[in-house]
Symmetry: C2
Subunit: 518 residues, 2 copies
């Protein structure tokens, strides 16, 4: 079969069809689908399975760095949101508002009961700084109570007018960390520690190379003193902000009276942080590793790492095939990879085995085994590796004696994890241009604005800038918008000295990343 | 120390102070606290840790029975709720209604933006039958697509006027299973299978004996053909409905057009089920196992099974104490209990060690170790068992050579798990009366109605009934209410023949449980 498993490829001729391809993968890999609720998605079992593996791994990392999980209310009283001025500016435009607590049948039509109108409306949390800050103000009295290191796994709602599955949805799932500290130094250290946890999670678990750095002032979280992000390059050259960590200074503490008594009995405001990573990452995995046959999952987050498809023909040999397959499942479950048991599935659904094979190719299962009567008789395992599925157009198939296959599976999965990372890293580094030094060169490289932003693959530009704030930054941002560009972050890894600012010509203070973005 | 670790006991004289005691345990064991959102709670790390252990165990059981997790939207369009008549009747009175999607600053006051009013209001899910049924109607075409076996971990909202932490809260966390089948037989089997999963989870993991059975018609889930529950007796004799499983027949399928084509090409409605278990179970664990010193956690759901408190005195010996404690942590983590590594914590918080000890007693950590300089020098481990904390009023302390202690820990934890279950089971069975055969006897046993329902411990009554429905059942229910009693369930385990109905005098058809309840 030389045809691809998807009907849309990432490029059609020299035209990018990446957006259509993305939609096709999400659909054909059974990851998610739109729902009847505007902008909200249904996450299907295979997509949710990937999220569960992500959760498990990230939760371990969060706990290993001393944090505990807790749970705070979904609803936030309207007055809480209003407390921190920048915060309300940043979020007020996109929140779901609960105004009634009962429905009533009036004139044969079910509607909000006017007698059950809330005195104060509730907001469905877009993020939880204010409701968690309220608890902090009750819990924290003395320096002995610090630091408070909490994390919450939750759903949040931010109204989206242009939703896109996983990438921008009205409701999404995430974790949000919230911590309080006695000093700026500790809080900044925490902010950077969690940024590095995100970096390690993205790179080691999702095989997704990222560049950590500080966001420019105009891209800060509403109410933050400094916002840091990890940015990943997708296969169409656009950037995905894949996790953010904020140092909030004493802004929220002052708004919510989060104070502690120090050794000397003096009252001081706490320094707080917050950091979050969401189901958007599932979209990032798709856009980092997918190919024209569908998804390719890094084995560390594949809900099933080995899928076995028995080729059954309603013949007496079927019993032998199933027996061989079941013994193989048992043997594989005895193997460990990434410090856990290998995750195996025997797919016995009542479908044609060829359909099942292609379904698993599209879903991106790392190793797909097909067992026929001849394999069972000879004790051979025939399999495909999803990372290197084809040789030119032809499917590449491998065969190994059963015991050798079982012994080699952990190694193959580990190699695949590494290979996907190296491939994405090479692509990322090869596509960051550092030789663009002026607005004109920038405009020429990215081309004029227009609907055809996807015409050609463009990576990122890394250039010196003078790090302006206020009106000067706003002007730069506005001009970048006309080129459909944004400032991503100033990478943590900076050269000793930099040239003049690409935007202003003034002496540069650091390098910054410029690109199109999700 | 002969004083108790809590200020309130379960009984004061011969008067039950159970409700106050419950509140004190929730607070003093750092489980949860009220929030500024009416009826919603903040689940604190220790309480959430217990829920995480429950989730992990129940999730495994749900997956082992062939279900997959998925995620559906938090919001439900109002029209969906209106589709199933009984369902809307049952839920319409207690739902949070989202009417706007933006806030606006009008005359200096932040309020819902009148221009951002939703055309159709959204309901915050009180349960997800309707939104999941909508997906089922799209996914299910043929008998080959069946069964669909899904589960969702989620938050739900049902407005509560008389909230009680964990037991009745406006927002709570739960899992809700939703399945679709080709036949009534399969759907009923699924309903009973999941009821038994709940029974096994409650008994084996929470050490909470339960009685599975069918709810009477008036207690059915809105829209269900049959509702089954597990009921547990709390230490004040009241019943806690601890998990429910519903056979929904074709009610939701007909309302939402969930149909499949059978072998012969005929279209039929699916038979569906749903089943749920919530954070209410945390309240159940507290009321099943707590004592006058606080919580006693079954080791299987204790976030930390062994807590080590080093007795530090700012002296040179401290180093030795810490070294000994750290080596003990490492040795204990090498041990396994309930098929997992033993969960150990070294509590190095800057507090007095006596305060820490009592904090862990109140929190119900199964084994509490205190290490002083003498223990470190002699290689001895001195510990308390939370299940048998006292000998009379005195604290009972144990000492073992270090290696012997390490080797014995898994056995002690397993013994504790079994002991808590046996204790609760004995209490439950000793307090179900089967000798009450008339309204008068029932009224005499439970006493007249009044505010003093807590005056004396009363268990349950198990009696034959004629299983009426409609008006006759309503009359019985109303009369039971005057005694503050409810029908709990008709236990699955029934005798071959039963006497006359306690309520009607007609021939009985089965036995039913009657009690006060949460």
């Amino acid at each position: 079969m030389s045809q691809r498993a998807l009907s849309v490829s990432r490029m059609t001729g020299n035209r990018s069809t990446f957006a259509d391809w993305y939609q096709a993968v999400v659909r054909e890999a059974d990851m998610a689908e739109p729902s009847p609720v505007r902008g909200a998605m249904v996450i299907k079992p295979w997509g949710y399975g990937v999220w569960e593996e992500m959760q498990r791994d990230l939760d371990r990392r969060i706990k290993e760095t001393g944090h505990q999980n807790a749970y705070f209310p979904l609803f936030i009283p309207l007055s809480f949101i209003a407390k921190e001025a920048e915060h309300v500016e940043g979020f007020a435009k996109e929140m779901a508002v609960v105004t009634h607590h009962r429905l009533k049948n009036i004139d044969g039509k079910l509607q909000p009961d006017p007698e059950a109108k809330l005195e104060e409306p509730y907001i469905v949390r877009p993020t939880s700084e204010t409701i968690i800050g309220d608890a902090f103000s009750r819990w924290i009295k003395s320096h002995r109570d610090l630091p408070v290191l909490l994390n919450q796994w939750a759903n949040v709602v931010r109204w989206e007018m242009r939703p896109r599955l996983f990438l921008r949805t009205t409701e999404f799932l995430w974790q949000e960390g919230h911590t309080a500290h006695a000093s700026q130094k500790e809080a900044v250290e925490e902010t950077m520690r969690m940024l590095d946890v995100y970096r390690a999670f993205a790179e080691d678990t999702l095989a997704m190379p990222v560049i950590p750095g500080e966001k420019p002032a105009n891209e800060r979280f509403p109410g933050a003193v400094a916002t840091y992000s990890i940015e990943a390059m997708m296969q169409d050259g656009k950037a995905l902000q894949a996790g953010t960590s904020h140092y909030l200074g004493t802004h929220f503490s002052e708004a919510q009276n989060i104070r502690f008594q120090d050794d000397a009995g003096e009252l001081s405001y706490c320094h707080t942080t917050s950091w979050g990573l969401s189901t958007r990452m599932v979209g990032g995995v798709i856009m980092s590793h997918g190919d024209d046959d569908g998804l390719r999952l890094p084995p560390a987050v594949a809900p099933r790492q080995v899928v076995i498809v028995p080729m059954l023909r309603d013949k007496p040999e079927d019993a032998q095939v199933l027996e061989f397959a079941e013994a193989l499942v048992t043997a594989l479950r005895g193997q460990r990879c990434f410090d856990e048991r290998v995750r195996v599935l025997l797919d016995t659904r009542a479908q044609k085995s060829a359909d099942k094979r292609w379904n698993w190719v599209r879903r991106g299962a790392p190793i797909i085994v097909e067992i026929g009567a001849r394999d069972a008789a000879s004790g051979t395992v025939t399999f495909m590796r999803r990372d290197v599925l084809r040789d030119g157009d032809k499917i590449r198939s491998h065969a190994l004696p059963r015991d050798e296959f079982v012994a080699k599976v952990p190694g193959i999965l580990a190699e695949m994890q590494k290979g996907l990372f190296e491939e994405a890293k090479k692509r990322t580094h090869a596509n960051i241009r550092t030789d663009i030094g002026s607005w004109d060169a920038l405009a020429e490289y990215f081309g004029a604005a227009g609907d055809d932003e996807n015409v050609e693959f463009k990576g990122w530009v890394r250039a010196p800038w003078s790090k302006p704030e206020g009106a000067e930054l706003e002007a730069i941002d506005a001009r970048l918008k006309t080129l459909k560009l944004t400032l991503r972050n100033a990478p943590a890894d900076q050269p000793k000295s930099v040239g003049p600012c690409l935007f202003t010509g003034k002496p540069g203070v650091e390098e910054v990343l410029i690109s199109r973005a999700y």
